[in-house]
Amino acid sequence: MYIGMALVVIGALCDLIAAMGLVRFPNFFVRLHAATVGTIGGAVVPLFGVTLMTFACDFLGYWKWFLACGSFITAIIIMIVAPVGSHALARGAHRHGIPVEPKVCDFLEEDRRGKVR
């Protein structure tokens, strides 16, 4: 129960940091890093926390089992689904030609143009 609350608080702080990162980063492809923290640290970890927290909530009666297992399933769904979605988004965005500024090195672009590395 206390572990659950600790996970929820950690997840809230992770989500705040990810939101600040999403606003301040210069580039779409760098913002993908912030979005990763936001979805996994900010939604999956707190959902595991809610699962552990509701196991101790006896004021809900027998609905606590429903809430606990439902949020556990939601956590696993988000854990599988969110990275797939952002991978597909990154692939689509790179092929569409979203500019990579400021750029240090872009190996995928060099590979697609057929340059010898």
Binding site: M5, L60, G70, G85, R95
Partner: protein
């Protein structure tokens, strides 16, 4: 007359803990200390009398967590409006959806409404489909017939 717990007497009646600062004024009605104080039955602040029940503890944690998530949602919306490309907006709405998904689970515990978990599962799957749809549009410029 029920049997009196001798330990309770030692902690509560004999040595009642009173704080050194003045009594809580009306403006401090919203502080946690005042809330705990109002829930104390004997005007005693020893740890035994100040124990919160599970329900109060969970509700306190949820009322502390909610502003942090509200600020995060506002920042996501800023990026969703401001993003120079469509992919930025998609990413921000994706993160917003997963955030709201968690927040609905928390509200389900707070309001004792167990059906909200079903809604949060549905939202997570919607965000997935949204990402795939936008990726397909960005790559091939077709709108998915």
């Amino acid at each position: 007359m029920s049997a009196v717990n001798p330990r309770k007497i030692l902690m509560c009646n004999a040595r009642t803990f009173k704080p050194a600062w003045p009594k809580a004024s009306s403006s401090s009605r919203f502080t946690l200390r005042a809330k705990l104080k109002s829930s104390a039955k004997n005007d005693c602040l020893c740890p035994r009398c100040m124990e919160l029940s599970v329900e109060e503890l969970v509700k306190t944690v949820i009322t502390v967590i909610t502003p942090i998530f509200a600020i995060a949602m506002i920042l996501y919306t800023v990026r969703a409006i401001k993003g120079p490309t469509v992919a930025d907006m998609t990413l921000a709405i994706d993160c917003l959806a997963f955030d709201v998904c968690f927040f609905m689970a928390v509200l389900a515990v707070y309001f004792k409404a167990p059906f909200l978990i079903v809604c949060s599962i549905c939202l997570a799957l919607w965000a997935y489909i949204f990402d795939l749809y936008m990726a397909k549009y960005l790559e091939r410029r077709e709108l998915g017939e």
